[in-house]
Symmetry: C2
């Protein structure tokens, strides 16, 4: 991609969603699935999650054209146990599968106190926080993780065998937006690494290694046969391993190291799995839960932490809802051209 | 404490457990609770988790003498929902409370696929992996977290408001010991920090700040009015926040910042809460789960990672089971003197 222009277009969330949905439909996604994936992608752009916003559209399109992902898939939701739901995404995008399964997960968590949602053969190419925000707005605590493409080497390892394996957590906060964090267990997300490479920016030493296993500050050398490293040394690496166990082994999906694009030139979306744990804090009789979390947020802010997880996202969203979502002209023209 | 002597005693796990149980009973713990806490502490020593082994005995004794913790407490196990158990530890140690609640948690996870165990008003002064190992040996996947004493400042924060807030995860591995990790979300555990201070060793810059909020390599300056920092910057800090939400707000326990020793001189054990999530991977029909995890471990080892989480612990255990648990003479004599 070329450098971005300085001129900006402002577009509403609804208009951006419609535009993206047209692109998805054009490249073989069903109307119902397109509406869901487009809303997700537009929401990321609106909230400033730029590495999962419209930046991802060429990747979505390329994967669809390669035949690697089925845009028309309808997931099978299997009610296998009182507190356990299995979902076979049938080689489709994760968000439509989640959308189908979520009502049952909410019903189970409400009735029984907790529910586990294990999704396999899903393509998750976005952020995780949009999956959890509706749960937290409905009073649930939720934890999710997704395995991905092998691009992370364990500490001391020479070969990329783990995905960026993000973990997200959401909780209601009384009188405020939910607190949601969502981060890659790698030193950097693959999306941010690709943005850095595109913009010719260096990355901090320790972010990753090149094809020879040497530390490098050049993101393109990490992308070109090298590997990212986990964040936080052996602790981040242990979390990444947990993600493979829960999002791949437990769901019945593929490990990051097993994703094989070779028969689908142009494929970019990881086909692995996702685990979601939903807990109803009220069910156990703790009526003051959300106000206790609000107290905690106050204590942490008072200690001097100026920005808590998701603060910036809600501020960005507010501005976008007021002024429209900023897109530079070239990006906007590229999106328009993808509809034709 | 004085420097350790070079001469070593070798003691069996059973003998060490009996010795520690006598100490616990002498300082007011019931026979039943003493057996559980002593086995836990001896197990940590045996497996090389030295910061949670006999090193902790003076702290246990000091807390018991101060009247801060009730060594005779019998927890109330409340079956509040199909997949949700609440436990009021009634100001006792966490391990006897866990021990009482675990059969019900296992029954629920087996029958319903998942169970959440929310414990409040418990004193957890040990490692978390002993709580999870029996679950993983029985085929369950388990996740646990515990809030603690305020000794960690958030990034940018000036004041310690979070505990070291450990997270542990355990999974069965076909044909091998369970893989279990257990780490503080702080840059270092409080126990390791205290050992470093006792031994006059420096800690890496970034581990914590002194009372003026300045980075320091001196562990005693971190302990003396300063604060540890989270591991891995804002990501570790987000995890620490999650631990406060799940182990304190959700359980109905105290936040790390609310633990108030002031009326109990000598108190050292944190009275907060603990969350345990137990999932039965077989229940959902994935019979090959444990062999898939074994495959994953093979892939990660083949990539060049020489030591996986818990490898060292099992090796140390094996040696201790063969040769006895090594204790230096002075430590052993100190333990003996605590029984008189």
């Amino acid at each position: 991609m070329t450098n971005s222009s300085d001129r900006q277009t402002r577009i509403s969330y609804d208009d951006l969603t419609s535009l993206l949905a047209r692109i998805f439909v054009r490249f073989g996604v069903s109307e119902a699935n397109a509406a869901i994936v487009a809303a997700n992608c537009a929401g990321c752009e609106r909230d400033g999650s730029l590495s999962h916003g419209v930046f991802r559209m060429p990747g979505y399109v390329s994967s669809l054209r390669s035949g690697w992902v089925d845009g028309k898939a309808v997931a099978a939701v299997l009610d296998v146990s009182t507190a356990f739901i299995r979902v076979d995404a049938r080689n489709g995008f994760a968000q439509p599968a989640l959308s189908l399964a979520m009502p049952l997960a909410v019903e189970k968590a409400s009735k029984f106190g907790a529910a586990v949602l294990a999704i396999k053969d899903s393509h998750h190419f976005s952020a995780l926080w949009p999956d959890l925000e509706p749960l937290a707005r409905n009073g649930f605590v939720a934890l999710s993780m997704v395995s991905g493409l092998a691009c992370v080497a364990p500490p001391g390892g020479r070969k990329a065998v783990m995905g960026t394996n993000p973990i997200a957590f959401a909780t209601p906060v009384d009188g405020a937006n939910p607190m949601i964090f969502d981060f890659a267990t790698s030193s950097m997300s693959n999306g941010d690494l690709r943005i850095a490479a595109r913009e010719g920016r260096g990355v901090p030493l320790g972010t990753g290694v090149d094809a020879e296993g040497e530390f490098t500050e050049d993101p393109s050398r990490i992308l070109d046969g090298g590997a990212l490293l986990p964040f936080g040394g052996h602790k981040g690496s242990a979390l990444s391993l947990m993600v493979e166990v829960l999002a791949s082994a437990l769901t019945g999906g593929q490990f990051s190291s097993e994703v094989d694009f070779s028969a689908h030139s142009g494929a970019e979306t990881p086909k692995t799995g996702q685990l979601v744990i939903v807990i109803d804090p009220r069910r156990g009789g703790n009526e003051v839960f959300a106000s206790r979390v609000a107290q905690l947020m106050d204590v942490v802010r008072a200690s001097g932490q100026t920005r808590l997880p998701s603060d910036r996202r809600y501020r960005t969203r507010e501005a976008a809802e007021r002024d429209g979502i900023p897109l530079n002209d070239e990006t906007y023209q590229n999106l328009l051209s993808m509809t034709r």
